[in-house]
């Protein structure tokens, strides 16, 4: 995010940020391409849209508020299990399931946010990791409810609006996930370009000084953490509904680590970072799926090391630097 070169009134600065860049419009139109050009990859596209939503939720707390979480899958899993159980015990209507999952993930997020807001650094990392593992073990122990290691049985999702079935090809799944991603993206975009979003960035830079200019750090962190949990819960619910499966994997440390990799790869603290990261991550994994998954881990590890060493702000950060460099030469 380039700093304003000369001092402009804050309202003007924010208004300038809110305006849609032509590239953004191109990007969102491009998300429709899979329908026409890669119809056999629609279920992958749906996975990517869901992963992008999950990455967006992590970016909100990691990139903007500076909270490093190694347990963000907790909310993804809560959302997934909530949506799965709701379809099993109440009814299979997708929208209401999505809302129930969002509310439940938000409640868990709000409850844990009181812990999160009080700590920084390693203690915070360990607490997010611990809460994530606690939920995983909880879901594993409560196998009468969750099915434990076998996964949740008996998920029954009704067709969307009673007409569009969640088919094998993923037409409905991708449409559904993409609309959810877009709506939440627009809301997030609005949020981070609001005064609240600015104060989040202030907390990331210096959480002790922010209260001095009238922005209570802890209250802001609680708020954004809850919002992020709601988004992650919706992502989890989407995966449960579009694939009709929920397993312990949705709560696992691997999922938390994967989403962290996606956000960092694309560039943390940039709205599109998580989206770009999840596209690259999942397309690469799909292409390399022929090779042993153990070796796939090696390339992810190498990628992480290279990004930390050479691209401190991810791919988008690197592109932004190239652009600045060219402008400087001209």
């Amino acid at each position: 995010m380039p700093a304003p070169s000369s001092l402009v009134p804050p309202q003007q600065f924010l208004a300038k940020q809110v305006r849609w860049h032509p590239l953004e419009i191109v990007f969102w139109i491009a998300t429709l391409l899979p329908f026409y050009f890669f119809p056999s990859y629609l279920s992958l596209a749906s996975q990517i849209a869901i992963a992008a939503l999950f990455a967006l939720s992590l970016d909100l707390i990691l990139g903007y508020a500076g909270i490093v979480s190694l347990g963000h899958a907790a909310f993804f899993g809560v959302g997934a299990y909530a949506a799965g159980l709701f379809s099993k015990f109440v009814w299979g209507e997708p929208f209401s399931g999505l809302i129930v999952a969002a509310v439940l993930a938000g409640v868990v997020g709000y409850a844990t946010s009181f812990i999160i807001a009080k700590f920084r650094h390693l203690t915070l990392i360990m607490l997010t990791l611990g809460i994530g593992l606690l939920l995983l073990e909880g879901a594993n122990s409560a196998s009468w409810l969750t099915g434990g290691a076998d996964g949740l049985q008996g998920i029954d999702i009704w067709p969307l609006f009673n007409t569009f079935d969640f088919d094998l090809w993923g037409y409905t799944a991708y449409t559904y996930s993409l609309i959810a991603l877009f709506v939440i993206f627009v809301a997030t975009r609005r949020l981070i370009h609001s005064p609240f979003g600015l104060s989040l960035r202030g907390i990331r830079e210096n959480s002790v000084r922010m209260p001095a200019i009238g922005a209570p750090s802890e209250a802001h962190i609680r708020k954004v953490y809850t919002i992020s949990a709601v988004m992650a819960g919706i992502a989890g619910a989407l995966i449960a509904q579009t694939t009709s499966t929920v397993s312990l994997e949705s709560l696992s440390f691997e999922r938390s680590a994967d989403v962290l990799v996606m956000v960092v790869l694309g560039g943390a603290g940039r709205l599109y970072g998580g989206i770009v990261g999840s596209i690259i991550f999942l397309v690469a994994r799909d292409q390399f799926s022929g090779i042993n998954p153990q070796y796939w881990l090696f390339w992810i590890g190498l990628l992480l090391v290279l990004v930390v060493m050479f691209l401190p702000n991810g791919i988008l950060g690197g592109l932004a630097r190239i652009k600045l460099f060219q402008r400087g030469k001209a």
Binding site: L62, V68, L70, I115, K118, F119, H121, L122, T123, I125, M126, L127, L129, G130, I131, L133, L134, E137, G138, N140, S141, F253, A257, L260, V261, V264, A268, N292, Q294, Y295, W296, L297, F298, I300, G301, L302, L303, L304, V305, V307, V308, M309, P312
Partner: protein, 286 residues
């Protein structure tokens, strides 16, 4: 009475094992303040050194242990000099990402070289069997672990507290600029300290094989337990890690014995409770 004592002893011995594999992290993460998730990879390296030397070269178990320490320590200095040093002042996130990237690469490399099956180990006969006292059986290997752990902690605490090198480490960790001003070669001290921490990881990994087994995922599975012990014990406190390892070891073993349906629930609960009560850990100062 019998099972209670046995559970207590098993938990204590398991705690000592946990102490051995995580005390090195207490040095690198705790004292040098570097979020070193690669610690698990160095422990795995030491374990594979021991397994390879024993199974392919016929070395005796005890003779492989110093080598596990040395190889892990030397290899870690290579990484320290090239990759970690530029990141000492970087954010927690960068340190987490770089070191977990290395763990991923280590896991993949090990499964490429050694395969994914678990590695067999044949410890010598004098470390097998049980000693029976009254109605309780004590496994000899576990007694051996307790002795080694006590030895390591005494050596480490005494070394840091009473030797010239220990004083230099403490000075370099406490205040780098001041230590430099006094003519201490901080870079060299940090390299040695890092080697010490990772060497201890290698030793702990080698000792752990008999109890917890060894395969390519070792680095990731035990990483979390190591982190728990160091953060519960308190950053930079060797005695803190010692106490934390006992608490976690006993609560894990007792939990599995008395409440098997809880699984690993208990140790995460203990960790969260301790961190909420004392955010810097039991013996932490920062």
């Amino acid at each position: 009475m019998g099972p209670f004592v046995a559970v207590l002893f098993d938990g204590f011995a398991y705690g000592m094992l946990l102490f051995l594999i995580s005390v090195g992290l207490s040095v690198t993460l705790g004292m040098m303040n570097f979020v070193n998730l690669a610690h698990g990879a160095f422990a795995m390296l030491g374990a594979y050194v021991t397994v390879t030397l024993m199974n392919s070269f016929g070395w005796p178990f005890l003779a492989t242990l110093p080598l596990a320490f040395i190889v892990a320590g030397v290899v870690s200095v290579g990484f320290e000099q090239t990759l970690f040093r530029p990141l000492y002042r970087a954010s927690d996130l960068d340190q987490v990402l770089l070191t977990i990237g290395l763990v991923f690469m280590a896991v993949a490399a090990v499964s490429y070289v050694f395969g994914t099956e678990s590695q067999p180990i044949h410890i010598p006969d004098y470390l097998r069997g049980f000693i029976t006292v009254g109605s309780a059986n004590f496994a000899v290997y576990r007694i051996f672990l307790v002795v080694v752990a006590l030895l390591v902690s005494v050596l480490l605490i005494a070394g840091l507290e009473y030797t010239r090198f220990g004083a230099q480490i403490r000075a370099a960790v406490d205040n780098q600029r001041m230590a430099r001003g006094l003519g201490i070669d901080v870079n060299r001290i940090f390299a040695y300290t890092f080697a010490l921490g990772s060497g201890l990881a290698g030793l702990g990994g080698a000792l752990a094989i008999e109890v917890v087994g060894l395969d390519h995922s070792f680095a990731l599975i035990y990483l979390i337990v190591m982190l728990i012990i160091v953060s519960v014990g308190g950053l930079g406190s060797i005695s803190g890690s010692f106490v934390a390892a006992i608490v976690i070891g006993i609560s894990d073993t007792a939990g599995k014995y008395y409440f098997p349906y809880l699984g690993a629930f208990l140790i995460y609960l203990v960790m969260i409770a301790v961190l909420l009560w004392r955010p810097a850990g039991l013996f932490g100062k920062r």
